[in-house]
Amino acid sequence: MLRFIQVIKKEFIHLRRDPMALRLVIVAPIIQLIMFGYAATHDVRNVPVAVFDGDRSAESRQLIEEIEHSYYFHLIQTADDPRDIERRLQSGEAMIGVQIPRDFQRKIMRGTPAQIGLYVDGTDSNTSGVATAYMLGILRQGAASMQIRQARTEGRLRMAPPSVSVEPRVWYNIDLSSINFMVPGVFGLILLVLTVMLGGLSIVRERETGTLEQLLVTPLKIWELLLGKLVPFALVATLDASVIFLLALGWFHVVFRGSLTLLVAMALVFLVNNLGFGLLISTLSRTQQQAQLTAFLFIMPSVLLSGFFFPIANMPVPMQYVTYLIPLRYFLEIVRGIFLKGAGIGVLWPQMLALTAFAIAHFAAGIAAFRKRL
C-alpha cells in the first residue's frame, strides 16, 4: 500500500545520515543568501579617491570638500605630488584620482574653462564606470556654480543661465538598493542549484550502489519510484524557498508587492522544470561525480546568462538570443516582477508561458530518458 511513501521515508533517512547533503540543503542556501545579499552589491559607495591639489586656493578646497561630503566617495589622504596619484591607483589604495591644476582659481575667476585631471582605475569596469559618472557630475556642477557666482558678483551675468531642471523619480526600487534586486534573484538561484543538484543525484546514486537493479525486481512501479525519489527533493526545496522568502522580507527588508499565491505557483512550475532536468542528468550519468559536474556545467551559464548579475540588455545581441533558452531567465523576471513591481499574470504571462513550456519539456524528457535507460 502506497509503496512510494516508503521510498520517500528512505530518502529522508539518507538525507539525515549524510552530513554533506544536510549542509547542501540547509546551510548552503542561507550562506548564499547572506553572501549575495550583502557582498554581491552593485551599489557604488565609499569609493576611495586620491586628490592632488596644485592650486591650494579657496575654490580648490571647496571642490575637494564637495567630493568628501558626497555619499559615494571617501577621500584618502590628499597627495603631495601628482605622481602620487598614479602610485595610489596602482596599489589599489584609490580607485579615482583627481588633479586640480595650479591655475584653477584664476580660470574660475576669469570665467575661462578650467581643466581638471581625472584618473580612473578601470579594472572593475562596472563600479568605475558608475563612480566616474558621479565624479564628473560633482566636479562639473561644483565648478559651474563657482563660475556663475563669480560672474554674478562681477555683474557680468545679468540673467540666470539657461538650465533644464530634471527631477528623477525612481519607481519599484525606490532606494535603488541592489539588495532589492539581488535577494529575489537569490531566491531563484538557490531553487535552481538545489533542485538540479539533488535531482541530478537521485537516480545515479541508486545506479552506482547497485540498488536500482534491486528496485527493478521488486513490484515497485516506475511512477512510484519517480514519485518516491523526487517528492523529497521538492519538499526540501519548498522548505528552503520558504526560509529564503522569510529571510528576504524579515532580515533584508526586501519589498514584496505582488501575489504570494502567484509566486508559489510559479516556484512550483520552476521546481518541476529543475527536477525534470536533474532527472535527465541523473539518468544519463554513470556516476554521481559525472552527474554533479554535468549539473554544474549547466548551472554556471544559466546563472551568468539569466540576468542574475548582469542585465540581459547589456549583453551582445547574439547572447541575448541565447538567454531565451535559459529557464532561470524567465523565473528571475517573474520573481523580480512579483517582488518589486507587484506584477501579475497580465504582465508576466509571456514569461510564465515560456517557463511552463520548459518545465513540461524537461520533465517529459527526464521521464522518457528514465524509462528508456531502465
Binding site: 509503496r3 533517512i13 545520515r17 537493479e213 534491486q214 525486481v217 521488486t218 513490484p219 512501479k221 531502465l374
Partner: protein, 318 residues
C-alpha cells in the same frame, strides 16, 4: 506440469552484435536447488535477468512461479527474489532498516515479516548487528544481509547471482546452510557460482556455454557421464608440455589448474607413451598420476566437445 518453478524455452538475448543468450531451454522443478555454472560470458547473469522480468528477451518465452515473465512481469516479480551480483543494499541504512525497506517495497503486511526477519537474523548470526549501518558490516555479513532482504517476502523462487563471490569461507558455509533449508520451505533456488565445491551441493547443475545449456543433471550423473580418463601432470615449463600434448592423439583436452595440467585422455590412451612424449619435449620434474573426474573436468570436456562440434559444422558449411 505445475511442479515446474521455472520453464524457459528458446530464450535469446542480443546486445548489439553480441549474442549473450542463444536459444536457451531450462527447466527447474519446485523445491530444487539448481546451479547455473559456466565460464564468464556464458550468459548466466543475462538469463537470470530475463527470468526476473527486468530484461526483455529478443526471442523465447519463460514461465516463472506460475506466471509468464513477458506478459505478467509484475506478478512474477512479486513471487520471486533476486540477489544481483553486486551488493545492492543501502549502505547508510541499518540492517533492520534495509530489511524493513524491502519488506515494504514488496507490500508485506506490517507485523507479518518481523518473525521471519528475526529467524533469518538468528541463522545468519546477524541479530547482534541489527542496528548497525550496512556499510559497517564485513563483506560476508553484507552478503548475508542481502540474502535476508531477498527472502523477507517469502518468495517462491529465488535467483542468486554469484552470492558467495568474495565471501569468506565461514560466511559461505552459513550462506549455504540457509540455501539448503529453503527447499524444505517450498522455495526453489537458482544460483550461479564459480566455486565447483558449491556447485557440487546443488540438486541439479545446468552447465552453460555460449548462451546455451549444454547439459543439466545431478552432479553425480554428470560426473558419471564423462567417458574420458583424467591424468594430472606436474612438470615445468607447463607451456612446453601443453603444446606437446595438444599435438598428441588420444588426448581430448588440456587445462591448466595452478601447478597442474589436467589432461583428459580417451580410454585407450597409454600413460607411458604420454610420459615419453613429454620427456622428448624436454620438460623437467615430471609427475603423472591418474585422477577421478571432477566437475571441472566435466565442464571442460563439455565445452571442448561443443567447440569441436561447432568447428565441424562450420567446416561442413564451407
Amino acid at each position: 506440469m505445475s511442479s515446474l518453478a521455472v520453464q524457459a524455452r528458446g530464450l535469446s538475448v542480443k546486445f548489439g552484435d553480441v549474442t549473450a543468450v542463444a536459444g536457451l531451454d531450462l527447466d527447474v522443478k519446485e523445491g530444487e536447488i539448481v546451479g547455473l555454472v559456466g565460464p564468464d560470458g556464458a550468459g548466466k547473469t543475462t538469463t537470470m535477468r530475463v527470468l526476473c522480468g527486468i530484461l526483455v528477451p529478443d526471442a523465447g518465452e519463460a514461465v516463472v512461479a506460475g506466471h509468464d515473465v513477458l506478459r505478467e512481469p509484475d506478478r512474477v516479480k512479486a513471487r520471486i527474489g533476486y540477489l544481483p551480483q553486486r551488493f545492492a543494499l543501502h549502505p547508510d541504512l541499518t540492517v533492520n532498516e534495509n530489511i524493513a525497506y524491502l519488506a515494504d517495497l514488496y507490500s508485506v503486511p506490517a507485523g507479518t515479516w518481523q518473525q521471519r526477519r528475526d529467524e533469518l537474523l538468528e541463522i545468519t548470526d546477524l541479530a547482534r548487528f541489527a542496528n548497525r549501518q550496512a556499510v559497517q558490516l564485513s563483506g560476508g555479513m553484507q552478503q548475508k544481509l542481502a540474502l535476508i532482504c531477498t527472502l523477507i517476502h517469502r518468495p517462491e523462487v529465488v535467483f542468486l547471482d554469484e552470492p558467495t563471490t568474495g565471501v569468506d569461507p565461514v560466511s559461505r558455509r552459513d550462506f549455504w546452510h540457509i540455501l539448503y533449508d529453503l527447499p524444505r520451505q517450498g522455495v526453489t533456488v537458482v544460483v550461479t557460482t564459480p566455486y565447483m565445491d558449491e556447485a557440487a551441493h546443488c540438486s541439479r547443475i545446468a552447465f552453460m556455454h555460449q548462451g546455451r545449456v549444454l547439459a543439466q543433471d545431478s552432479p553425480a550423473a554428470l560426473r558419471a557421464a564423462i567417458t574420458a580418463r583424467i591424468l594430472e601432470v606436474r612438470c615445468r615449463p607447463q607451456r612446453t608440455a601443453r603444446e606437446a600434448l595438444k599435438r598428441y592423439p588420444t588426448i581430448e583436452g588440456v587445462e591448466v589448474f595452478g601447478d597442474r595440467l589436467r589432461v583428459a585422455v580417451s580410454a585407450e590412451a597409454d600413460p607411458a607413451a604420454i610420459r615419453r612424449v613429454l620427456e622428448e619435449a624436454g620438460v623437467t620434474g615430471l609427475d603423472i598420476r591418474e585422477s577421478a573426474a571432477s566437475l571441472e573436468d566435466v565442464f571442460v570436456a563439455l565445452a571442448v566437445g561443443q567447440q569441436s562440434q561447432e568447428d565441424d559444422s562450420r567446416a561442413g558449411e564451407e
